[in-house]
Amino acid sequence: MRRILQFILVLMLILPGARAGAADELVFWNFWNPEFILPVIEKFEKAHPGVRIRNEQINWGNGLDKIVVALANGMAPDICELGSTWMGRFSAGGALLDLTDQVKDLAADYQMWEPVSRLGRIYGVPWLVSTRVLFYNRGLFKMAGLDPARPPQTWPELLDAARRMHDPARGIFGFGMNAGEGHVLYKKFMPFVWGNGGEILDKNGQFVFDSPATRAALEFYLKLSQFSYLEKQDLLDEAFKSGKIGLTVSGSWNFADFPKDAPALDFGVALLPKPAPDRGFSASFLGGQVLVLFKNCRNPALAVEFMRFLSLAENTMPITRKALVSFPAHRAAYRDPLFSDPRLAVFVEQMKTAVHPPLHPAWIEIEKVLNTAIEKAMYGTGVNLVFAEMALEVEQLRARGLLPSQSASQPPVAVDAPALSSGLPAVGLPIFLLALIGCGALLAALLGIFAVQRYRQPRTSADAAGPIIRSQRVLLFLSPWLVTFLVFWLYPLAFSLLLSLFDHDIFRPETAAFAGLKNYGRLFHDREFAQSFVNTLLFVIGTTPFTTILALILALMINSVRRGSQVFRSIFFLPSIVSIVVTATIFKSFYSPVGMLNRLMELFGLPGHAWLVEKGLALPAIMLMTIWAWTGYYMVLYLAAIKAVPRQLYEAAEVDGADEWQLFRYITLPQIHYMTIFILTVNTIRTWQVFPEVFTLTRGGPVGTTNTMVHHLYETAFRYHETGYASAISFVLLAVILGFSIVQMRILKGARQ
């Protein structure tokens, strides 16, 4: 054993961990189809002989996770594309190169400099810009007696138009309002606040969201929601496309889809309405993509040259033309004939008055406060209570040093203040060494537990029926597996355990500060964690027993069918083969307000629901999908076990005159008991860790009712970048599952006798 460990240690210490590659090779991470990017790279390489730009595509769904993980490991690319709203955190975090001197001459030629600037320094180059406008269905306007040539220009007109078109009985809705998507809500709501003169942060960084302007906007928004179809953005776009929604706020990507999918759709676009003809302005949400260099960039001079080249109008227009998602930040692009299209011109016009959300190191936390408040108000909490609760959350952010206290009036300091607040000095040890120590500590702890258990229970052979061989040599026999297992699973496990004891800043992985049990202590005050625990427990109790029992019943049924059992088996097994993303997509449309489920309900004269958007229904809806998707898999396991029961046992019992129930109770059930243990254990572990279902269907919403523990962990690590705290959550989950499983196995083992 010791020798094996020694071997691993030596092995790991001698192996290098540096990124290989030539000095004039640069790695570029971006979100776009390589089709758009590779021609530009080729052009650049031709102009710079000997230079190589390696294009590596990351995907929209998980790109940020990948960047975070790479940053934490010092493996960030040389050049990277980032969403502009992430820039507050990134530029304050110290992970980006200061490019002020290299790019400040571009200032006049490009728009959207706010996201890449911080305290007078520039940390990137604006690349692409996008905004949202009001889409309206001319056909529905006509039908409701509205002038299809005159879209609403003010709030009262908007409300009136929505009210007149709204006719849910006919499946027509006045306005398409985003709901059930926690992270998108503020983008849809803020234009009303901004247009009304409200703000999130003032010039001094003070949180000033709660103002008469905001309250008026919220009240208007809630009124509008009465004539709205509440759904997620992609389903809103789809509903608008199929002519079910009169008005909605959306982006230019629709121009690529609408003519292709619904050429008959008669729609127009307009600037977002302003509060009143004589007051406020037409605000919208401004966002985009920027190019940055990370600190570990191997050739900043060359990288800057490439960024400047890539962001030129001529090199960016191909993306705009093809994807129609965002427009170049380079002003020269707007001379392109593409923008003479009147609908696109509306976007260009809207961009002039669109507002970018504030750039703040703690923006992601602030965004969460906003989203929570807006969501609560939309789900019926009184406006006064919403703002009172928001004030408490803001107070917490102030206490954590993320927002300036009310008396202070300087701009906020860097975000790493809380990382050092434990009072202990930063250790600065390489994280790898710490992980090795962690490995040792974990092994020692487990050995200790084991020794105590051994001491308390003198060895008995009670659990061993049959010939049991005592051997030490078997360990040698197991060593290839043992090495693989220890290296690839125990090391990450120990590493993660160690992370949970540290304040780990992904932007500066080398300055992890020891925090002791602080991260675990914090769990007790984390209301979201408590909620996620309850949600997960409900989920486990609401799925595992049903899946298991249904799987057993199905297996028994298929087992007694005379012909065609193979066909049924395959059919029930299908969902486990199909990727969960596909299953979730199908269920998303199944559960939508105009989906299959509601049509079925209608058939029985029952009222319809927005299953994934209503507070009490979302979690059960996910449970139902999980039961549906996994029953077939466990059924096959049960079938395998049932078929393996020796036939002569049944024959003998039948001779003794046992009836069918007795055969099942006294032969089948005990004979497949090992499978029941396996299924229950595995199923329980899986359901405690439920994640992709939640991630694809609800992202934890509405108002946190489907936020499960792993989803909470995921958000903590990859959205809020608190990797240490996320690790603490995962070990609490580990403890919960371990306890659950041990009890479960004890009970099941007992049940056998």
Binding site: V69, A72, K241, P263, F488, T585
Partner: protein, 271 residues
């Protein structure tokens, strides 16, 4: 079995009704992958098209991804069968120092959410020099805890008689494992193969984190790269890709169905 006709009919009725609900998504996937537009939309160009398949199969990187996925799956399957049989047998039939500890450590790796291991896993692979290579997608998953647990449970449920007989006949431990346990465990091995195939074939998170270049990307990651746009998904392409990538797993399932279902223990004990 001596059940009546009526009962059989009843069983068929229930199973058929359930089958419909289980077939629906599959049909949806197939239909959506050849529909030119979203259901209910039309531009007069005809309802169906194979464009999405052409797009998926023609997409640069897709054949590479298919090859990578198959390579990874094959090696992972072989590794899992060997490891799970030997270790499962040892855990089920042997008593050795640290056995319980080992068992619960295996279980613990299952109980930690994989999301928590993403950062350490990349660190490890970078250190071992395996980052951005197929080895990073193979080695950790050869020692899969679920399969081990399955084999241990299965072997514990096997009768001892045959092993005893083999031992009396003078067979060594390796011989017993190879000639007695392995054949008896065929149903469990078949389950293991299907289990591993499903999980490994659809695995997304670790391949995304552990590889950067298109040359070592697996199918799900490649699919996500071109089907997921900034503001939504190209569902036609996504469904075509999902259909194409589901086929190998379905083939494996059909092939091993008989293995799973035909209990070999019963035959072996019959004499």
């Amino acid at each position: 079995m001596k059940e009546g006709r009526g009962r059989q009919l009843g069983l068929y009725a229930v199973l058929a009704a359930l089958s419909f609900s289980y077939l629906y998504p599959w049909l949806y996937m197939l239909v959506r992958s050849i529909l030119r537009h979203e259901p209910g939309m039309s531009d007069g160009n005809g309802l169906f098209t194979f464009d999405f398949y052409r797009l998926v199969l023609g997409e640069a990187g897709f054949p590479t991804a298919l090859l990578n996925s198959m390579l990874v799956l094959t090696v992972v399957l072989a590794g899992n069968i060997i490891f799970s049989l030997t270790v499962g047998y040892a855990l089920a039939r042997y008593r050795f120092p640290l056995r319980n500890l080992l068992f619960w450590t295996i279980m613990a790796t299952l109980m930690v959410p994989k999301q928590a291991l993403m950062i350490p896993m990349l660190d490890l692979m970078v250190r071992l020099g395996l980052h951005d290579s197929l080895w990073a997608l193979i080695l950790p998953f050869c020692a899969d805890g679920f399969n081990l647990f399955l084999m241990k449970q299965y072997i514990e449920g096997l009768p001892h008689d045959l092993e005893d007989a083999a031992r009396v006949d003078g067979a060594g431990e390796a011989g017993i494992l190879l000639r007695v346990i392995a054949p008896l465990s065929q149903p469990a091995i078949a389950v293991l193969i299907i289990n591993t195939a499903i999980v490994n074939w659809n695995s997304f998170l670790f391949p995304l984190i552990l590889t950067d270049t298109a040359a070592v990307r697996t199918l799900p990651v490649t699919l996500a790269m071109f089907a997921q746009g900034p503001y939504g998904t190209d569902w036609g392409a996504m469904m075509a890709g999902a259909t194409v990538s589901s086929l190998p797993v379905i083939a494996i399932f059909w092939y091993f169905q008989r293995e799973i279902i035909e209990g070999i223990t019963s035959g072996a004990l019959k004499d």
